[in-house]
């Protein structure tokens, strides 16, 4: 907290303050207004090699997902049985799959589905979890009790099992088309994961509720919705966003696992998980069919986990 007298005196006191505060962390904040948590974190992030590498990989993946034709001229669905299970060569860097399709082209075109599922699932999880979490944390009492119990119910279901049951239901409903299939997978992941985001948001909201700025806002007559969205949300967002970034990587892996089991994505939404699932019976004779999509999958998850790690370290001052 700034001393009110010095704060009121304005710019002239800047020198006075820096004369008292000599600890190194206060010195380089420079003139002008002090940096917020976010710009502070950004300054910190820009200097981390982990963040730069992860960011570059993710940027490349996003470009691949948006413009796959820049990276391959081959048609991912062109079949030529003459080339069935041919190993990698100069013509096709990653070889051909069972039906003689170019594995490299399929990997490139599969990027968008993999990223789409990860991004959408992470976003939906954070949205649902943050919404219920901040309500539970702010109102407390029976609202908190009810929401926490509901969260526990979903948390108590084993993830893979729950997802299989939900997706099996969806499959019986005969859903066709790429986007509805993606939607079903995203929804099943989010439905089973939101309690984690809710717990994180809830504890952040409980801590924020005790802060002076919330009390001040209430004393000024601000409504509950104004306090929640204007005052508490910006201050509680950091931990949930960190969770969201790390979960993005985990959800991409989860999609691959579900597709591998044959109940996740399927034609026409061919993700890397679907390719790995198609390749599983030919692991011994044509390992390239499995290893290349698996390699891309691993690199992608790695990049997101690294990004999450870097963001967490930048946003959480305790770890510094």
């Amino acid at each position: 907290m700034t001393d009110p007298t010095t704060a009121a005196a304005g710019a002239a006191t800047d020198q006075g303050v820096s004369a008292y505060v000599t600890a190194p962390e206060h010195q380089d904040s420079g003139p002008g207004k002090p940096r917020s948590l976010w710009s502070d974190a950004w300054q910190d992030l820009r200097r981390r090699p982990l963040f730069i590498i992860a960011g570059a990989v993710i940027l490349l993946l996003v470009v691949i997902a948006l413009f796959p034709s820049l990276f391959t001229s081959a048609d991912p669905n062109h079949k030529d049985l003459d080339f069935s299970r041919k190993p990698p060569s100069g013509d096709a860097w990653f070889g051909y799959d069972l039906q003689g399709r170019d594995v490299y082209a399929r990997v490139v075109y599969g990027t968008r589905w993999t990223l789409l599922v990860g991004l959408a699932a992470s976003l939906l999880t954070v949205l649902i979890g943050a919404f219920f979490g901040i309500l539970a944390g702010y109102f407390g009492g029976w609202v908190d009790g009810l929401l926490s119990r509901i969260g526990e119910i979903f948390f108590g279901l084993p993830f893979v099992l729950g997802a299989i049951v939900i997706l099996n239901l969806v499959r019986n409903a005969q859903i066709r088309g790429a986007l509805p299939i993606v939607g079903a997978v995203v929804a099943s992941i989010a439905v089973l994961s939101w309690p984690v985001a809710m717990r994180i948001m809830r504890s952040a909201a409980i801590a924020a509720k005790q802060q002076d700025y919330v009390k001040a806002a209430r004393a000024l007559g601000a409504s509950s919705s104004r306090i929640i969205f204007k005052h508490m949300l910006p201050n509680c967002l950091a931990p949930v966003l960190v969770y969201g970034t790390i979960a993005l990587g985990a959800f991409i892996g989860a999609e691959a696992t579900l597709s591998f089991l044959g109940i996740g994505l399927r034609d026409p939404a061919v993700s890397w998980g679907v390719m790995i699932s198609d390749a599983r019976n030919y692991v011994r004779v044509a390992p390239h069919m499995l290893l290349f999509p698996a390699g891309f999958l691993t690199a992608t998850v790695l990049a997101f986990v690294m990004l999450g790690d870097a963001v967490r370290e930048a946003l959480d001052p305790k770890l510094r």
Binding site: R149, I150, E152, I153, F154, G156, L157, P158, F159, V160, L161, G162, I164, V165, I166, N168, L169, N172, A173, G249, A250, G253, A256, T257, F260, L261, I276, R280, V283, R284, P287, L290, A294, L297, T298, A299, V301, L302, V305, M306, D309, K318, L319
Partner: protein, 308 residues
Amino acid sequence: MGRYVLRRMLQLIPVFIGATFLIYFLVWAVPGDPFTGMCGERPCPPQFVAAMNDKYSLNDNIVIQYVKYMSALLTGDFGQTYSEQSIGELISLAAPVSLRLAVVAVVIEAVIGITAGILTGLRGRGFLDNLVLVSTLFLIAIPTFVTGFVIQIVLGFQLEILTPTVSSKATWSELIIPGFVLGSLSMAYVSRLTRASIAENRRADYMRTALAKGQPKRRIVGVHLLRNSAIPVITFLGTDIGNLMGGAIVTEGIFGIHGVGRLVFDAIIDKQGAIVTGVVVLLVLVFLLVNLFIDLMYAVLDPRIRYD
């Protein structure tokens, strides 16, 4: 203490009912006939459908169905599959295998993860710390089925060190490799949790006090530091036992283990709803009880926590 346990037990009841009802609803309230395709190419004869509807009381309201099912379950009757096999028997064959696999996985992840976490947490930054950090990153990034396949190809098919699949008996020694694959992801989390927890507690006041009293290093680390750092790790390991019991579907599939995960996955594909609900009810129960047990362990580990 007694009142706390009682209150926690009472809290478990609505969660248990909610979770099992949710699964029951998802499995049985499917729009359409659950018996399509069960009689080969032709539609099922009406007598068969009527008998089946009667047996699984599908004509009732879903809540009544659920109550009937649960009250049968409380007397130990898991019901029968469509081909009149006892589901209780199927589960009692599969559950010990899954339990063994989960125990092997948890032991492996606890031993390796905690050791790595303690070593890096105590030493601080350096070569070992970076090594563990990078290897845990990779363990987190590689999906279980890729780890499983790669280990199976390399050790099983190419080097022929071990048999690539597990026999139907599934002895402890056969389960070491699948257990390692199953526990590899959590191993990374355990080592990171332990490292963070130890690094945080290392600077605590009680550590300095213990040091100032002149206690030997082994006692400071072994008694003061480890005991106080154990809580987050134990919590994670506890939730993991529940997850591993049911989450081993992929590992069991790759190594051909006949456990609970395999049973329930086949049941979902064959539309054997009764098996699915039975297994999930059991898994939810295990999960909740393990969590309760972990909560009670807190008081043993950290005497500052009191339950009253």
